[in-house]
Amino acid sequence: MSTPPLLDIKDLRVEFRVYGGVLKVLDGVNFFVNAGEKVGLVGETGCGKTTTMKAVLRILPMPPAYISGGEIFFKGQDILKMRNRDLGKVRGRGISMIFQDPTAALNPVFTIGQQLGAVVQHASPANNRLSKRQIREKAIIPLKEVSLADPERLLDSYPIQLSGGMRQRVCIGMALATDPELLIADEPGTSLDVTIQDQVLRLLHGLVEKKDTSVILITHTLGVVRETTDRVYVMYAGNMVEVAPTHKLFAEPLHPYTQGLMQAVPKLTGGGIAEGIPGRIPSYLDPPPGCRFNTRCPRVMDVCRHQKPPYFYLDEDHQVACFLYDQTLDQHKEETPSI
């Protein structure tokens, strides 16, 4: 047994209390990241990926959200049981987050320098008040690291004067300024143009390699994780349905949902548009019993409607939550997982 993971989410359950009842959003999420690893989290709108990450940082709006079970271990300590004071040390310093829309993440009425300065101040040891000049000197470093030209002038600029790509890079700089051990990047390229997204992802990749930071890359675009991650989780309706090393997942996706996603992506080589996955995600108010994907699964079986599938192992690092891979079920001892 090697070193324990940096972040270990065990059986996390999160509910939201709203009109009409309770939304059982996260239904036993299991997820871990080892030190120095880059993990992708792929899922579509509403699957709960952002909720999971917000739970890690404890920034979920507590009513109406409610953590009904599970544990989140960061470096061995349960975040869910931490006091606010200790959480302050984790947020920003141990774990940093970049959000999807850099425009919304930057305060429009403060200059970049002021915002970076605040981060730098937060990052320095508690009783060390830095002088203005020291803050400015330290704030330039992240800007240089993200290859932004003319950092001096940037410090005095307002977010609105920057392009989308530059803002995202400022956010990345801010997130890494504190030298966190874990960086959570929530759809870092989605609001950007493809060429800029490419640049930003490369930058992220480079920085993360250099500093040996662990990364969780959240996205709904499969193609993005293919080149930048070591392992990928696929999430559906509040559950992790498949996890595997990246090349294995793309070579041989096992879960019908993963297969559906791979098929649905239009191919550069042509071939028409697949119909996609019929139906919509189930209601969290009244989720179907058993496997939550059973209403849309092309290979659904009877057992899927009654029992929730546990994880089955194909190899020791490729797990899938699907009864199709249950060796004990007689029906498909013969069946081989195919793409």
């Binding site: 709203v18 009409g20 709006p61 959200a65």
Partner: protein, 309 residues
């Protein structure tokens, strides 16, 4: 001539009747959801209840007030300046009139002031704001907004005094004064909202499809501002009532012996602090009605603002 499809079934399986059922079901659901959100906040319920109670009191004053004739010219010096008692829960004033009854009748003036003023101010202000906002950047916008600015520049109380000095001081004329100084606020509010909205894609869609301008103003843009407008109306009721009471207090509004709340405070002020009840209860009446509208307005704002998770 609209040709209605004769057959009851519009398309296989759906009748006109079923379509109507669906509509009713949806409306009920939406109302249910709205009530749920509203009722989460106890203060809104308090505010709402207060407003409803006071309005009912105002409407049914002659039947609810213990001494309805005291609201009219009446004297009873034998019972003058009685402190609060079981017979007169709010006491009597310096000429023997029951204060509780007069306060109840006083609510009539307050509420009618609010209703009359707002029912003129809101349509006019909103209409001007819609037009100015939609034609943002053109001479229409400039003309309307400059006129609005002019009205906003005049200090409201000076305006009220000016009007009162020209016309006889009474409730009706003070309503005119308040109306004239109030409409620009609605124009401003709606102008800002409409200017932003005219760039929304659903407006562009309506325009490129060929919808008429009145349709776009009233059916596409206006429904999206209902929330801020209604919130403002509710909060404004409180303000109009206060301003109305202020005008009465300085002698420009409801004239004695009519039981306007501000008027009663003014005439009762000289008896403080010994016969405190003569001024305090009418003042409390003002506070309660204004607070009620304010809480209701806050509740409405939260109702419209909160997004479902």
């Amino acid at each position: 001539m609209v040709q209605h499809v004769q057959v009851e079934e519009l398309i296989p399986g759906i009748t006109r009747q079923q379509v109507r059922e669906l509509q009713r079901k949806n409306r009920r659901e939406n109302l249910g959801r709205a009530w749920y959100k509203f009722s989460r906040n106890p203060l809104s319920i308090i505010g709402g209840t207060t407003v409803v109670v006071i309005t009912l009191l105002a409407i049914f004053a002659p039947f609810v007030a213990p001494y309805p004739e005291h609201a009219k010219p009446f004297t009873d010096f034998a019972n003058a300046s009685q402190p609060p008692s079981w017979q007169h829960p709010f006491g009597t004033d310096e000429i023997g009139r029951d204060i509780l009854s007069r306060v109840i009748f006083g609510f009539r003036f307050s509420i009618s002031m609010g209703l009359v003023v707002l029912s003129i101010v809101v349509p006019v202000g909103v209409l001007l704001g819609l037009i100015a906002g939609y034609y943002n950047g053109t001479w229409v916008d400039t003309t309307i907004m400059r006129i609005t600015d002019i009205f906003l520049a005049v200090p409201p109380l000076i305006l009220a005094l000016a009007i009162a000095s020209v016309l006889d001081p009474n409730l009706f004329h003070s309503m005119i004064a308040v109306t004239l100084m109030w409409w620009p606020w609605y124009t401003r509010l709606v102008y800002g909202l409409a200017s932003a909205q005219r760039n929304e894609f659903y407006v562009a869609s309506a325009e490129t499809t060929g919808a008429s301008t009145p349709h776009i103003l009233f059916r596409e843009i206006l429904p999206n501002m209902v929330s801020p407008i209604f919130t403002k109306i509710s909060l404004d009721m409180g303000w109009v009532i206060i301003i109305g009471s202020m005008l009465s207090f300085v002698g420009l509004g409801v004239q004695p012996p009519k039981p306007g709340l501000g008027t009663m405070v003014a005439s009762g002020a000289k008896y403080l602090p010994d016969q405190w009840w003569i001024a305090i209860f009418p003042a409390l009446g003002i506070v309660v009605v204004v607070l009620g509208f304010n809480l209701l307005g806050d509740g409405l704002r939260d109702l419209f603002a909160a997004e479902e998770v």
